[in-house]
Point group: C3
């Protein structure tokens, strides 16, 4: 069973995602297609990359991950198909694929090609590469076509900068890198750096606990999240709202 | 592999969609079920039709497209199963299936039957035909049952009027037919009519360009969309908000 | 074909759901995974249970239903895998699985085990049991592993109280138990109790009709819903908004 995953900012209700899935059903009828999400903030390349980081390696080898957050569709930006750690990645060359491509993000030893727009036998709309270019490329990979046959080598894809995370004499300095649906705020600071430290975030000093339930309902708490990074939460509430945290807010681990 | 697609206004969180999918899993266990969307505006038949237009032909022949936006559920309106261009369509007879049934919308040579409510061996709730009537009909088609066996011929299904699109001495006149998640506004005017013309929309005169990136960020632009119609966009922004466009707003192509 | 369904409050856009689906794809590659919904109100155990009630029995026997609404993740609350009416249920022991486990909710003769966190061969994050504990348990059940082998017997899972529904000399008394996306308000009163009665809800007295279309657009109406309970609706509108109904609002059936 080969799987194709789809992460976009298209929304579902206009039928664009279904047009992509129809193309996949036509060209790779035996592949299983998993929706990741289609409600990413429009054009938010960083949010797409942060999401991709959470799942791309959880899928088995051979999976084709398609990510289309593409404000530059139809311009000179390249369209990529890549292989990394046994998975395939397909999307625009604007940084969305960074987690799989960049060693600084934990990515694999990646190989990328720039897709040839004319390579798939049908006209390509300059405003809908998801349907006309990325979906055919994903279907080709899912049905066993070689990556190298899909385009020309593209050795230097765009990579988003890694989040700031520095060890200092007093502990370490980092930043908030993502806010999830619950208002939990992930930091760039590895949990392994937290030993003997307290987290300073949003004007509070928080000891790092095991889980949310280690404090009373409504209380702020720091934990090590499911990816191994320090996270700020409020039990049964939103840390982002309560502590005024946004992506980029500085945080510190200080020897306490 | 036979596919069934689902487009509804049920929302997902109440479990109604899952009840439909459970019935499909029971009656057509080998069919692949694709969610299109379940967050259509409640009761918005036109929005459902505009979405269906974007994907129904992208799926391979044999696909069963189910569309349930059905404010008249349980009344005398017919429940339809249809065949058009090798695909099947299932839904209420209120216009939602128009893109596949009406030649004026690009639909195929369609055949429809009115579903017999008693035809599927289980009681039919008068408020949930999605689960009790449309899902069993879709499962029957997906498992090879003949369309004609599902009901009585229904030669004149309800059809939504096509959007206004007129060629005139000075160019052409049309209207906004859909606003997508990005605020891009699709018009009823074919791209082929745009040669040598400028688009007049929302008080602006716009040359038709190739893609969004052909103007600076924040600037309005007209393009030919992925279905072949003229579209109004604002790069990295919302044309609907910026230019005050809604479904039905008049637009013109004028020889410039 | 074995199916696994997923109902969570994770939201889709952060990639947590996809991490769960990646684990399922790795451990149970031939199982079909159905998304139910991921936009449940955060931490709303009752909303999850009400949704589960609508679909768990509609799926065929052998289906594995995963429900993760889990504000107590990582605390001493048990993690459950259960069998009821031929289906499997997986989720936290906080009441979310009540509809399948409790006879008062229509549940089956259930058997439950408390999952051993160490039983699946990988480290378990104290903040993401969905990925590290519930998904591996669901995959194990979907691939034929015996329920009893997944943990220790857990004979008394947490059960939510059934909604209030009392027959009285004058008729019956109950309450609103759920509001759906359309603003329709389901009550705890069985449709079979409505004979010869009028529904009193939100200050109105309503005769129980067959379907929404039996009154004029904009008018309130009582019907028997698709699960067999009396429901309050406003045709083409929201009964919850119009009549000020919320979950818990008292309602009555009075001999009229």
């Amino acid at each position: 069973v080969t799987r194709i995953t789809l992460l976009t900012d298209f929304g579902s209700r206009d039928g664009f995602v279904a047009a992509v899935k129809g193309v996949l059903a036509t060209l790779a009828p035996r592949a299983v297609v998993d929706d990741v999400a289609h409600d990413l903030p429009a054009g938010d390349v960083l949010a797409a990359a942060r999401a991709l980081a959470r799942y791309w390696r959880r899928y088995p080898e051979g999976t084709v991950h398609v990510v289309v957050v593409d404000p530059g569709v139809g311009t000179e930006r390249a369209a990529l198909a890549c292989a990394a750690a046994g998975r395939f990645l397909v999307g625009p060359d604007n940084g969305v694929l960074t987690p799989a491509l960049s060693p600084a993000w934990g990515g694999g030893d990646a190989q990328c090609v720039s897709l040839a727009a004319e390579g798939f036998g049908s006209p390509v709309s300059p405003t809908f590469h998801g349907r006309d270019l990325f979906a055919p490329a994903a279907a080709a990979l899912a049905t066993g076509r070689a990556l190298a046959s899909l385009g020309t080598p593209h050795p230097h894809p765009v990579e988003l900068a890694p989040a700031r995370a520095l060890r200092t004499a007093e502990g370490s300095e980092g930043e908030i890198v993502a806010i999830d649906r619950f208002g939990n705020a992930t930091t760039s600071l590895p949990g392994a750096w937290a030993d003997g430290c307290v987290l300073e975030a949003g004007g509070l000093r928080l000891r790092v606990r095991r889980t949310y339930g280690d404090v009373a309902s409504g209380e702020p708490v720091a934990v090590v999240d499911s990816e191994g990074f320090v996270e700020v939460a409020v039990r049964d509430g939103s840390a982002a709202d309560r502590l005024g945290l946004v992506v980029g807010t500085p945080v510190r681990l200080a020897r306490g």
